[in-house]
Amino acid sequence: MATLSPNLVVKAPRSRDRGSGDPPSFGGGGDGNRGGNGPSDYGERLRRARLGLVVGLTAVVMLFVGFTSALLVRRGLPSFDQQTNTYSRDWVPIQLPWTLLLINTGVLLASTVSMELARRDIARQMALAPVRSIPGVSLGDERGFPWLGSTVVLGLGFLIGQFLVWRVLQAQHAFVNKNPSNSFAYLLLGTHALHLAGGVVALVYAAATTLLNRPIESRRIVIDVAAWYWHFMGFLWMYIFAILLIAR
């Protein structure tokens, strides 16, 4: 029987970054449809992280459900006018810099594409990881386009664009307390920007895991979850844009 040369040892992918001793294994749920695959099952960790993300996004959805219902109620409310002793609607639609907002939307969409490419890139690297660990096997030039970095740049670009929208509004003296429509516009833009900034932090963390030489499984989970969060931020922005367009 032919023997393998001693330096051609295929290492199993490391799955735990701080593991020591024998970590407990997971049964993998009790419904019997997913077998317990032991401690090294990275697929379970990925699924768990994604599940956590979906649950977390539900909370974000509820936050914006609260804002939206407040907007719809407030928009229809009559206001008492002291001068005329009558009730009238005080909602004056806000004049938003639509061109700038459209540019920002384009930047955000581009960042979503970039994010998705980063996600696929790491998945590909992940699949090739066992091959790469074989000494003597070269995968050619591994330095692809830095999709993660470009996503961060585009995300920051979007945030700067949103900041410019605020500056334009301020230049028009459309301050937050001028009219309820202004209040909601600032509120929705600001809350979305904060959430997106959280996504940028997550991406920077993902990039840091690359530099810190964390195992590729951990990196992939971080990038994958950050990517789905980022896509959700894109959807959320579309929703906010529609609200500002229809019910401003």
Partner: protein
């Protein structure tokens, strides 16, 4: 993102700080929540003590505080409600016992996201510190009640506590929302994804079901409260008019116009009503668990219990309007909310029926945890029965702003949930600390507390029916309330005695933790997984192996079994009761 950290790959930490302060171990975090709630409950109880003293001796000169002014009384009332609802009733049953026992009961080594779990506790802690800080700023704590109704809560100039104190209050609530959302995320993911082999959903102990459903309610409710709180902060500090209409304060026209105080009420109660169930559902789970264990009988109607809890949680989101019958809502809306509210009586009745069915002809062991579980059922019935009264818009009009409501919600949401916490404490302290609590002290504590709470809150219903308004600080100067003063004195004295009896509990708790008799691994002959492991449980809960579940959670009185029960992890299923 920290959330995707490896689950429980961390070895048992060695240093004091990593082991006891910033621990990732769900058990340590559960104890941290528990002791935070224990601290908070004493703060809240002392506030109620001050209120009860003031109500019957308005001229009393209290050390450090002096004479209680009307606005001080409102501050006490606000902070009592807020601290009790958020930092006790939400924190202890879910954050405390849920954190400690949910992973063990489903056979998991830890929560799904340990780092997030630690963050969620420390965020709650920060929220508590900020809440307490409201006492010590200029103007003191806010006056607007735990419900924070605008316009009182929405402007800086409406009262002495409505300046910085109210800002701190709202900030604290917002931070608490974030903490609760992190906790809910962890509970849901853990329950769905980390169950041991064989632990199907319908084999989960009812405690796990109650924590799971509570987490779902929290996930859907706290986000809305957060949105409402952000709008309130903007109204207060940025001059917006979400909640504030054209308002004149002290003869001065404020700059706001067009907002609606009712908008806050809708958003608040959309959170506020599920919050009631967030407080009580874990108590229901614990009561089910204990009634079955100490009656040596399977729980009566396990599936009905699960579906009833789901129904209560679901309906809980559709009844917020019954807190607003007095707001001038459309009578048709009130009618709809009223019908939906009374629908909740159906699953509640199912639960009560099943609890009694579990007790029926059981081999009942009246140990302290069982006494508190029975006390829970008693208070749940007594407090719940006044619910359908208040659910009727016409009856709510006279009853809404008087002591009837105070009696109602204290029985059902306050002390019933507290009894759930007590039952859980007496039941699980042997597992958490490895020591038994004193039975005799526990029974003394139970009878004082049980009779005491009825003596406090039952008469409040009569006060309410006699038209006694709530939230008033001064009673002795009002003519038509004179005849009711003896009853108020009775309530106050009952409150002093009941609060005093809680000292017995604290002594028992701390004496037992350090000096109590050593507990065996399964002192109550219970079946769920936490009793299969060592006492107290090791760092990874099961000492390196993963339990496999073969049975349902309440296999008591099994024919042909060696004892009178079969553990969930016992592979020897009796032929008489194959699951």
């Amino acid at each position: 993102m920290a959330t995707s950290e490896v689950v429980h790959a961390h070895a048992a930490p060695q240093g004091f700080i990593r082991k006891y302060i910033f621990s990732l171990d769900h058990k340590v975090i559960g104890l941290q929540y528990f002791f935070l709630a224990l601290t908070a409950v004493w703060v809240g109880m002392i506030l109620s003590l001050l209120m009860r003293i003031h109500l019957i001796w308005p001229g009393a000169n209290i050390p450090l505080i002096g004479h209680i002014q009307p606005e001080t009384y409102l501050s006490l009332l606000t902070m009592h409600g807020t601290i009790m609802v958020f930092f006790v009733l939400t924190t202890a049953p879910q954050g405390g016992f849920g954190n400690y026992f949910l992973p063990i009961q489903i056979g998991a080594p830890d929560m799904a996201f340990p780092v997030l779990n630690m963050l969620s506790f420390w965020t709650t802690f920060v929220a508590f510190v900020i809440m307490i800080a409201a006492f010590f700023v200029t103007g003191g704590a806010p006056l607007h009640g735990w419900t924070g109704y605008p316009p009182l809560s929405a402007m800086q100039s409406t009262g002495p506590g409505e300046g910085l104190g109210a800002d701190l209050w709202i900030t604290s609530i917002a931070i608490f929302c974030a903490a609760s959302l992190m906790g809910a995320l962890n509970f849901i993911t853990t329950t769905l994804d980390l169950r041991a082999k064989g632990m199907s959903l319908m084999r989960m102990p009812l405690t796990v079901w109650s924590w799971f459903i509570t987490a779902i309610l929290g996930l859907l409710a706290f986000g809305v409260l957060l949105s409402a709180g952000i709008l309130l902060l903007m109204d207060r500090n940025l001059g917006t008019s979400f909640y504030i209409p054209l308002v004149v304060v002290n003869g001065q026209v404020m700059g706001h116009r067009g907002g609606s105080p009712l908008l806050w009420q809708h958003l608040f109660w959309f959170f506020g009503h599920p919050e009631v169930y967030i407080a009580i559902l874990p108590g229901m789970g614990v009561a089910s668990q204990l009634l079955s264990t100490f009656s040596r009988k399977p729980i009566f109607g396990y599936k009905a219990m699960v579906y009833a809890m789901l129904a209560i949680g679901f309906l809980g989101f559709m009844v917020w309007g019954h807190h607003m019958f007095m707001s001038g809502m459309n009578p048709w809306s009130a009618f709809a909310f009223s019908i939906l509210t009374m629908c909740i009586g159906v699953p509640s009745a199912i639960k009560t029926f099943n609890w009694l069915g579990t007790l029926w002809r059981g081999n009942i062991r009246l140990q302290t945890p069982m006494l508190f579980a029975i006390g829970f059922v008693s208070l749940f019935v007594s407090g719940g029965l006044s619910g359908p009264f208040l659910a009727q818009p016409t009856l709510d009009i006279p009853l809404h702003d008087n002591y009837f409501v105070v009696g109602h919600f204290h029985l059902i949401m306050g002390v019933a949930a507290i009894f759930g916490i007590f039952a859980a404490t007496y039941y699980w302290v042997p597992k958490m600390f490895g020591r038994m609590m004193s039975e005799s002290l526990g029974k003394i504590h139970f009878w004082f507390t049980f009779i005491g709470t009825y003596a406090i809150f039952m008469p409040m219903h009569y006060l309410g029916m006699a038209g006694h308004p709530r939230r008033y600080s001064q009673l002795t100067e009002v003519g038509y309330l004179h005849n009711l003063l003896p009853l108020q004195r009775f309530i106050s004295i009952a409150a002093f005695i009941t609060i005093g009896a809680q000292v017995i509990f604290v002594i028992n708790l701390f004496w037992s933790i350090f000096r109590g008799p050593k507990a065996s691994d399964n002192p109550w002959d219970a079946t769920t997984l936490e009793w299969t492991t060592a006492t107290p449980p090791p760092h990874d809960n099961f000492g390196g192996h993963t339990p496999v579940v073969h049975n349902g959670p309440y296999e008591y009185g099994v024919p042909g079994a060696a004892g009178d029960f079969v553990m969930q992890s016992d592979p020897a299923v009796s032929p008489g009761r194959a699951h």
